[in-house]
Amino acid sequence: MTTRLIGEPVQRVEDPRLVRGDGRYLDDLGSDAVEVAVLRSPHAHAKILDIDVTGALDVDGLLAIYTYDDLTGPLADPLPLLIPHPALTHGRTQYALARDEVNYVGEAIALVVAENRYLAEDAVERIVVSYEPLPAVVGVAAARDAANLVHDDVPGNVAANLVQQVGDAAAAIAAAPHRLSLDLSVERSASMPLEGRGVLARWDADAGRLRLWTSTQTATGVRAAVSVKLGIDIEQVEVITPDVGGGFGVKIVHPWPEEVLVPMAARALGRPVKFTEDRREHFVSAAHERGQLQHVEVGFDDDGRVLGLSFRFWHDHGAYIPYGLIVPIITSTQALGPYKIPNYRVEFDSLYTNTVIVTPYRGAGRPQGVFAMERTMDAIAAELGLDRAEVRARNFIQPAEMPYDQGLIFQDGRPLVYDSGDYPASLDKLKRLVDWDSWTSYQAAARAEGRRVGLGIACYVEGTGVGPYEGGHVRVDTTGRIEVATGLTSQGQGHQTAFAQIVADELGVPLSDITVVTGDTRRFPYAVGTFASRAAVMSGSAIALAARATKAKALRLAAEALEADPADLEIVDGMVRVAGVPGAELSLGTVAVLANPLRYAFDEASKAATQFAVGDPDAPPVAEDDEPGLEGRDYYSPARSTFASGMHAVLVETDPETAEIRILRYCVVHDCGTLINPMIVQGQVHGGVAQGVGGALYERMAYDEAGQLQNASFMDFLMPYVSEVPDSIEIDHLETPSPLNPLGIKGAGEAGVIPSAAVFASAISDAEGFSITAMPISPSELFHLRLQHVQQHHEGEPS
């Protein structure tokens, strides 16, 4: 009997290749390719008066220099606005190469192609651009004040204003026995994968065919965009995703300027052309996230139950808005978390600034929304002198109330309806895990020793597995090997392993017989992409359905061959057999042979399928409404997202003198429904928590008033080393299967990072005795907050 693999910590099939150094990442490809370097704006906002390339023309190995004037047809138009929205009244996107104005430091102005990157940079250095600097709009506050404009034709720097509400928040707050208001802020951070962006293009002039490798989260998206921008029939464009060195959201953006310019150059020059982004470029010309200013008004009763909540925020989306309103919409809806807020109003402005574009980074707006709601819950507890966990519990949606309709429209344009979840059970698990009930005495004991310790808590709900769809294809070849393909891409999530586990269980074959291919438009041309923790839910479900179709056909064909009733057949370890009848069996490989009647033989297996070997002479070799081959293809397209959830607690100690912040314990309770591979899910949580630690305590984008990013390197953008993450991340799981998909899966990819800002603010506030309202926070900032607090304290004292 094949042992069930779903739910097992199966070792990854990806790893033997990767640990040998046999991975094939973008820059490992195209050893014969010429290389590009990009001239990027040193100004945050300026008119381009002149571009003088003469000095660069005599550089050895120079092949071409392109500026806006060299772009033709659709390439000369702005890049696409990927996700339009009715509220997005002033959407602006950048040109592949700046036309007459630059709007952020790092915006592409000229593309240089040379024999190698060294020579390309020599040429870039010799191009002289004259600029007329314009006043830069930096930071949410400056954008909101609108003393200066990023785009002359966008009044107030406002791309969109969106309001959603249920009930009457203002009235409920006014009538509430207790009221509070909070002003909060979250700074910019970024996905920062260890591998930057990159693209390699080969133009086959004979076939008029383009083959493109790109380090992306959506191969099909890039294919469609490149086809349109370069005017090449989509059937003549192949996009292949090689190994991708991390994405975390930034690589869902497409097409990047380089993704259309590199194939343009390859076609023009008749040479393979490669762009490999360097680290400094990634800081100033990829994408960031997170920056928001927030204002919360809340009314609640004596028990801490929220009666009405009004959430107003201002979202910094950078110089352009190619990815639409996805991030602020997620903030505005997912702020609700596991809570029942009877009267809720949310309004946001999405604002232009002269800084790098903002697109989803792991968590995608949720960390900001959770920060607003969880700081509010802590504030309510403090106001009423109640236990922080108790206040949360009193506001929870109860399991019996599932599915629960929050009455809002989610990022996918569909109703925000939670499918399942058990928040009280999660909270109980977390309180046990962190020993919540003995905290007060622990903290008192520590304070007696002059130590400052704090415990933080934060809860979240995460809509995962958004549509529209994904597909899967399962094919059994005549040797019995199983080829599986899905269109979305992988950036290290172990898809080849997790999807193989699903197929092994559905089809009854050994894992080692299965090969999974992702992100190759030649293998599966219909797909959306990898984002919003959707791969396992969407492609996992689609592949399960495709495997079921394959199994049904295998059973049908085997039943004919074995003269048995399909209902009596089972597939075990790749053998189709009549249950309880020893010997009555066929290998799947043989069934595959039978599925493809042949005229010509080229090996033993095919000989067995030729016309004089098999088949009823009186029946058509391939039955009506049947197809040759043993394969199945299916798609999964859910009516709406499924909702994972979790709760984190962190125990910190702050140094009374140096204000350094140490993490003593980090506890996670996580519910993503059915676990396909617990080892992989645990790894996703670990990674998310570490990014959360970075986002809460270390990472920020330090722009100066002029829009210069002052920490555009790993020297000053402080990604955590092992020394900055907790010694151990304690994890407990709850499995509330989703009713929406065949396997009961919910997404897990982003979970770990979502509550970090909130949970650390909660813990540091608990340690310090005053509320933290801005994240991230550094020791220097904590030091100054202490001084302020002492000052206010003294001023507050009656003299």
Binding site: Y118, R280, T658, E660, D716, Y721, S723, E724
Partner: protein
């Protein structure tokens, strides 16, 4: 990020190296460990005409320990100096500080003398050399001269060495009797350059009372700062509270802000670390005096 084109020489002897430096003057740049220089080249912030690679000069790879102190040759890697037990015993501050220098992979290639003459105000060794009153030996075709630490550092990344001079050796004097040292710094991440770093030296009399307290600082000015802080704590027992010394240091120092720390926070760190390191230096001095390993 790729370097600009550059010429390259790899001298086989010190004399050959000095001749090259004389020939090319300020157009030449010495490549030793290169852990500072190569990123500057890759970012094209430095574009010397010629690199003079001294990695063949094995005769400069020494760490010599004598009664009067530790001599470190221009090609001795941080890791080799850190691993040298006799050196650590003769001058404990050396190893105490080197542990804070970046990460092992960097220490495996980077050289201690190179770090000193690169003169980064956030680097550990310039402060150590300064607080110990050490020296650097500079060689040129014109001969050799010994430059005291306090005359070496002219500003951020600036020394008083001439372009034709090669720093061939750094000398870290041994500790006087009943003298202890300690090093501490606060950085954002382990291995980052310090927001503030402190190297303390304390000498005790026979009654284990403080007769001298001197502290060297990194990351609080354009060059290493050295403060004599004996005043407020002279005569204190080796195990006394030394907060006044910290407060004095805070008034003496005028640090600059950056994106990681305000000037006020740096001053606070200097005050706290001064008191902490002076205390452990004093205890260490007492331990030494009592024949107990520090």
């Amino acid at each position: 990020m790729k370097p600009s084109a550059v010429s390259y020489s790899r001298p086989g002897s010190v004399d050959e190296a000095l001749a090259l430096l004389t020939e090319h003057g300020s157009g030449a740049k010495v490549l030793a460990g290169g852990q500072s220089l190569v990123p500057l080249l890759s970012m094209r912030l430095a574009a010397p005409e010629r690199l003079v690679d001294i990695n063949s000069l094995a005769e400069l790879g020494y760490v010599r320990v004598a009664a009067d102190g530790v001599r470190v040759g221009a090609l001795a890697r941080h890791a080799a100096v850190l691993a040298d037990r006799p050196a650590a015993e003769r001058q404990p501050l050396l190893a105490a500080a080197l542990r804070w220098v970046a990460h092992p992979a960097i220490r495996n290639r980077g050289t201690s003398v190179g770090s000193i003459v690169h003169a980064d105000p956030a680097a550990e060794l310039p402060a150590v050399l300064s607080v110990l009153g050490g020296t650097v030996t500079a060689a040129s075709t014109a001969g050799r001269r010994t430059v005291p630490a306090l005359e070496l550092f002219a500003g951020p990344l600036e020394t008083t060495l001439r372009p034709d001079e090669l720093a061939v050796e750094a000398f870290f004097p041994a500790l006087p009797a009943q003298t202890g040292v300690a090093f501490a710094e606060v950085a954002r991440r382990h291995g980052d350059y310090a927001l503030c770093g402190v190297a303390a030296l304390v000498r005790l009399d026979d009654d284990l009372r403080i007769v001298q307290a001197r502290v060297g600082y990194l990351s609080v000015a354009g060059t290493p700062r050295v403060l004599e802080l004996t005043g407020p704590i002279a005569g204190r027992s080796y195990d006394a509270e030394l907060a006044e010394a910290g407060r004095l240091a805070a008034t003496e120092l005028d640090p600059e802000p950056d994106i990681h720390a305000t000037a006020e926070y740096r001053r606070q760190l200097a005050q706290v670390l001064t008191a902490r390191t002076l205390q452990s230096a004093a205890r260490s001095a007492a331990g030494v005096a009592a024949g107990v390993p520090a």
